[in-house]
Amino acid sequence: MQRSPPAPAIILEGLTVAYDRHPAVHHVSGTFGAGSLTAIVGPNGAGKTSLLRAVTGEARIDGGRIDRGGIAASDIAYLPQQAALDRSFPISALEVVMMGHWRRAGLFRRIGGAMRREAEAALAAVGLTGFETRQIASLSAGQFQRVLFARMLLQDCPVIVLDEPFTAIDARTTADLLRVVARWHGEGRSVIAVLHDHDLVRTHFPETLLLAREAIAWGPTAEVLVPANALRARMMAEAWADDAEICARAA
């Protein structure tokens, strides 16, 4: 496969993302290092998805800034949470994977034999050899997640962002897909993943950001996932204060 540009560091400076003026992500600063493998953990409603959407350019930023180190938002491969795709759509697994060629093939360029073989190799890499012509309607949730990972393999992006990629996925599929993540990490790409399974994070992710609207802790996983931090994260009020005042902190 062709080499993508090297992964840059992604730097957040006082990042705030708000919904209806109430902050979901509040003054978060820190750095996803070049080629780092970072897990984002935190309770529900902690702003994990909002932070990912800001990093990938999907959400409007209400304060602070994001320095993507010169790459475009479209150079970041993004797998949304439980992608709300129409699984009855009449399309084959291989065709879904081929969508990963978009940046190179665009509107009209021919998708030739070489690109097709790349797509087949990507399917093989996620353990779906022989599934090329299968309709996605006939795939299980785990198999479909494998297909989406194969599509990201083809996208060949320097930064890969995954939102709860292993939720509702069985242990074996998770293990296989973690191998794909490790492969990306080994190739020098940056990977950022929202996860809930702390054991999995401890085993496979060197860096962790514990988020509860604000960054509770950000650094080596062993230093972040400690009981004191978990307690602080839990104390975060999940409800909005209707009478909240305008935030006086400088961005």
Binding site: S74, I76, L85, D86, F89, P90, V96, M99
Partner: protein, 285 residues
């Protein structure tokens, strides 16, 4: 009995050519509308072009150009307005279109009634396939050509955007632009079709073959082919029935399309009732 009407009467030949032209262009759009879960949008847009057609008739008389221009402008205005309203506020696109088309429909009826004589509301709603003249025929053929070329050019992003709009937008492939271009094609086809079938029945030739297509094929391309074939067969059958039984053409064609749809629903090779009911022994693996 099958060929004579077309050999003997020029108006039957013109109606046939017009309906076959529509059958080439409208059903593929219908397939995408179904896949985009916008099956009822065609209906809404069909109504939405009515005030434009009425205004065109009031300004320019009962001329093809005036009514078509009015219809296209009204349809595009409503598509763009609904698109902007839904993207600007988070209102769902179908709800937004429903709002705009209802207002447009009411406006259309008011305009027709204000103009007094001249415009026959029934002709607008149900068309007059046997009254298709050379100008209308040329217009339909042009729209079909434009539609097929445009569909060929935007096939890849349209399929991708229909299946996974977030992916395409994020990968820099655009989003709203394809959607609007696609809806513009739908408007064009509905305006072209209303001369032959009327605004109400035009939707039938677009949607009925498309909803039936999923019983015949498991791929997008296959469904498009199936829909075009079904629409063409319905056009021929509808015109013949209408000729021999002296029925209005628009409804006859749509009823024929409905019969083909029912056939697929009952016994098509993909997920039809027959396939569900037939108990075939399960396989070993």
């Amino acid at each position: 009995m099958l060929l004579d009407p077309f050999l003997d009467y020029a108006f039957m030949r013109r109606a046939l050519v017009g309906c076959l032209a529509l059958s080439l262009a409208a059903p593929p759009l219908g397939v995408f509308l179904v896949l985009r879960r916008l099956s009822l949008i065609g209906d809404a847009l069909g109504h939405a072009i009515l005030p434009g057609v009425a205004l065109g008739a009031m300004v320019g008389g009962l001329s093809l150009v005036a009514m078509s221009v009015g219809g296209v402008l009204a349809g595009l205005a409503i598509v763009v307005a609904a698109g902007l309203a839904s993207r600007g506020t988070g209102l769902r696109e179908d709800a937004s279109l429903a709002g705009f088309y209802l207002v447009a429909l009411a406006l259309g009826v008011v305009l027709v009634s204000m103009s007094g004589s001249g415009v026959d509301l029934l002709d607008l709603l149900f068309g007059a396939a046997l009254g298709v003249d050379d100008g209308a025929l040329l217009f339909m053929a042009s729209v079909t050509t434009v539609t097929l070329v445009a569909l060929a050019l935007m096939w890849r992003p349209l399929v991708a955007e229909t299946f996974d709009p977030g992916f395409l937008r994020h990968a820099g492939g655009g989003g709203a632009a394809w959607h609007l271009a696609f809806l513009a094609l739908v408007v064009l086809n509905l305006v072209a079709a209303f001369h032959a079938l009327g605004t109400l029945m035009a939707v039938g030739l677009m949607m009925l073959p498309a909803t039936g297509a999923r019983f015949w094929s498991g791929s997008v391309g296959g469904q498009v082919v199936a829909a075009v074939l079904a629409a063409s067969a319905a056009s021929v059958a509808g015109l013949l029935v209408s000729f021999h039984a002296d029925l209005p053409t628009g409804p006859a064609i749509v009823l024929a399309a409905g019969a083909i749809w029912a056939l697929g629903l009952a016994a098509g090779p993909q997920g039809s009732l027959l396939r569900r009911w037939a108990r075939r022994p399960h396989l070993a693996g």
